[in-house]
Amino acid sequence: MPAVTCPFCGIFCGDLAFENGRVDTSSCAKAETGFARPVTVTEHSVGGRKVPLAEAVDAAAAILRAARQPLFTGLGTDLLGLQALLGLADSTGGVLDRWQSSPQLANLGVQQRVGCWIGTFAEVSNRADQILIVGRDPAPFFPRLFERLVHNPTPLYRKNAPQVTYLGPSELRPADRAHGGTDLAADITVPANQLYEALLVLAAEAEGRKLPESVGTSLPLAQLMGLAQRFKDGAYGSIIWDVGAFPPVQAELMVETILRIVRGINLTTRCSSLPLGATDNAMGVMQAALWQAGWPMRIGFGEGFPRHDAYLYNAERMLSGGDADALVWVAALSAAPPPATSVPTIAVVAPDTILATPAAVEFRVGIPGVDHAGTVVRADGVIAVPLGKTRDSGLPSTATIVNLINERLGGEP
């Protein structure tokens, strides 16, 4: 039976049976909603007026030709679409950033400054005997994470089910306690504003250093030390986090401290980590931007070459600060509408996206993995998976539209 890949979170589960036009969503709420998304609008439009594709392409090209610094953001689409968008940003001297990429930048910033130690999905599911999940229950965001990465009924290397520990605020209510076959250690409850301190305790333990006396009288020290010891005693540990759960001002410090823990554990046994990243092919943006421009995101091409600046080229700041004079909003995977702005907007959006006010130009494109095939990069950042096509909407892909605009501007596809 053919199986398709679900494009609606960063796990990109590829085991969904597809038969007679129906996707078996394995009871995943995100997949259920995603594959049921309607085709509401298929026509392209200019100023709210439905137009043939060529006319919309002309209008988009005119906006970009007039713009001095267009902003390319959203960026929720497949790799081919992203490759094309990077080309358009390059040729128009634009700025390119994922929308709300600050949490992901916390992970990337640490990778750039200090490094990382990452184990991909199959390493976690076959090897990890100790798993620590930091910050929040990932289940609402990555619904099948536990089923796919933790509850592996046929692991290659570990003999017993992994011992899973949650470290996070008291409101943590792991949805996956219902799953069998997992040895769930007691949660270690630490309020969000003390999570960084708790990680420092683990780092000191992992590195074999004494704790400063000032540390953590209000922290559950015995539990934290027990956790560090379990990792030291284990064969292969994995620390998983969703950086979106971390307080923004501490996010980089926390990610860096997790790396210290991992490196410390590796002094005597094995351990790696898994930042879950964001959805909407966030890791695909990072990969394509790195290979085409040499930078992961927040790239300005205005000087004729790629320049990275994590502050200057923040998409939200670009818009609110009046630094963009055109907006190219790309959201093919989700139904996110473009942010409200006074600058002319070219919206490249899914067929069910609802815009509060019509954009200057609207292209309706297919949802990758639903309306057309494509490629996306998993949350572990290394593995790309192919998406299938589950319905015949006839909608074009992001890449098709972007290449048409690029050609209209005289660039090569």
Binding site: P2, A3, T5, G14, D15, L79, L80, Q83, D90, S91, L108, Q111, Q112, V114, G115, C116, W117, I118, G119, T120, F121, A122, E123, S125, N126, R127, R148, T154, P155, L156, Y157, A235, Y236, T269, R270, S272, M286, Q287, L290, W291, Q292, A293, G294, W295, F301, G304, F305, P306, R307, H308, A373, T375, V377, V382, I383, A384, V385, P386, G411, E412
Partner: protein
Amino acid sequence: MTTRLTGGRVFDPANGIKGEIRDIYVSDGRIVQAPSEGRADTTYDLGGHVVMGGGIDLHSHLSGGKVNLARLLMAEDHCDHVHHRHEHLRSGSGHCTPSIFTTGYAYAEMGYTAAFEPAMVPGNARTNHLEMADLPVIDKGAYLMLGNDEYLLQALARGEEQERINDYIAWIMQATLALGIKTVNPGGISAFKFNTRHLGIDEPGPYHGVTPRRVIYALARAVYELGVPHPLHTHCNNLGVPGNIETTIKTIEAAEGYPIHLTHAQFHSYGTEGKRHFSSAAAQLADVVNKTPNVTIDVGQVMFGRTVTASGDTMAQYRNHGFASPDKWMLFDIECDGGCGLVPFHYKEKAFVNALQWAIGLELFLLVEDPWRVFLTTDHPNGAPFGTYPTLIRLLMDRDFRNECLQGLHPAARKATILGQLTREYTLEEIAIMTRAAPAKILGLADRGQLGIGAAADITVYKEHGDRQQMFAKPAYVFKDGTEVARNGTLHASPKSTTHIVRPAYDAAIEKRVKTFFDDHLTIGFNHFPLSQGELADAGVLVHAHDCRPRRRT
């Protein structure tokens, strides 16, 4: 449309042409017979020029997840080196780990028309090919990293027949569009995941009980029997470890006479002599190579300066992370298949070890007698970025220059090398062999690296210059598939280029066994793992599949 290149001194070792003045005719991207009366639409008068095939780099980490992570890590490099957009040429950044368009442009501007990514981990094949689809001008391809992949190690552990191993390797090469097979620290990357920090060539791995020797033999034999043109591309165990020469020579033995290519041999030619317990074993390896016709090497020359080491060898990279400069490094454990490690390095001529590494590389070049069996590489970017090739060529061709450089070295390193006594200077013909004819031959690229009738018209024209570095840095003309793409070291056209692959045959029964393995253990579906023709077509990938003729040793 016919183009005539006239009056140049032609070096075409594959066809026995050694610097004779000849005319070359090009039509429809191919080298053709002289038309009647020698008529041509365009003529290049190449008096005072040297004509060779386009350069071929058989080992350059130019794409894929590991290189992308190196780009991320090398933020400083990408600030310092920027490349402007120019008409239809894309912008880019980076010198040690240039972005992909820049990589293609820079190679072509240096007269190279093909380069091969040597370390594609199976799970990363899809992104690697999408990235290589963006690599312009130069031809490309990738070697698949095996030898730490769980399926193979299990198969070896249960003593599966060679035939079944061959089936698996053929299947996975087809699935990932590989051109060759590379093994990196065979067994060692897997062992490192079980907390083994060192694995000798005859040491059983911690989980499967399989020795690296067994892995090397199985892979070398499989590659041979499947008829894959390129011999097993081997990164030996114990990279960088003083005394590793013993492992390197045992690796040659492990192939038991099957063809084997030792890559970045410089990093594997170390002894333990001297008070610093680090010495050159280049003469020892060269001696074995000279006597063992089934062996080829590329050098992996170290050139001084900043770079980043990007390797699948997590065990070695972890061992060396203390040398990171700047002090930051990354490691990845990947999909029960492999891994990668990124460690920035600063090679300094005043540092004893680095200085001796430089000398060891040059000793290898000069002591291996047959230029058909030693290839010019820096293991880009690990020993140095590929942009240093013209300087390296001058070091090989110009003994005075070499000795001058030698004077700048750490004094103890100067004493520890025999380099100063080596009088050999490479000739233009030998350079043409080691950078064109020989790599094409060993990769099975029958119509590249040569200028015979019918060959692809990948041609580089250099203006004669006594300073070989200047001569090789900026070729007067570069032709890719018959089209002039660069002049005086500046690119002006950026055609799409071809991905070279092989498609060895296998018994379809293997698919069922591999499917069970995927279903039970891996996180990507068996049906989703292979790259499909549709994906490639969508990505605009042009593929040239080379023949594999199954063979058996008699």
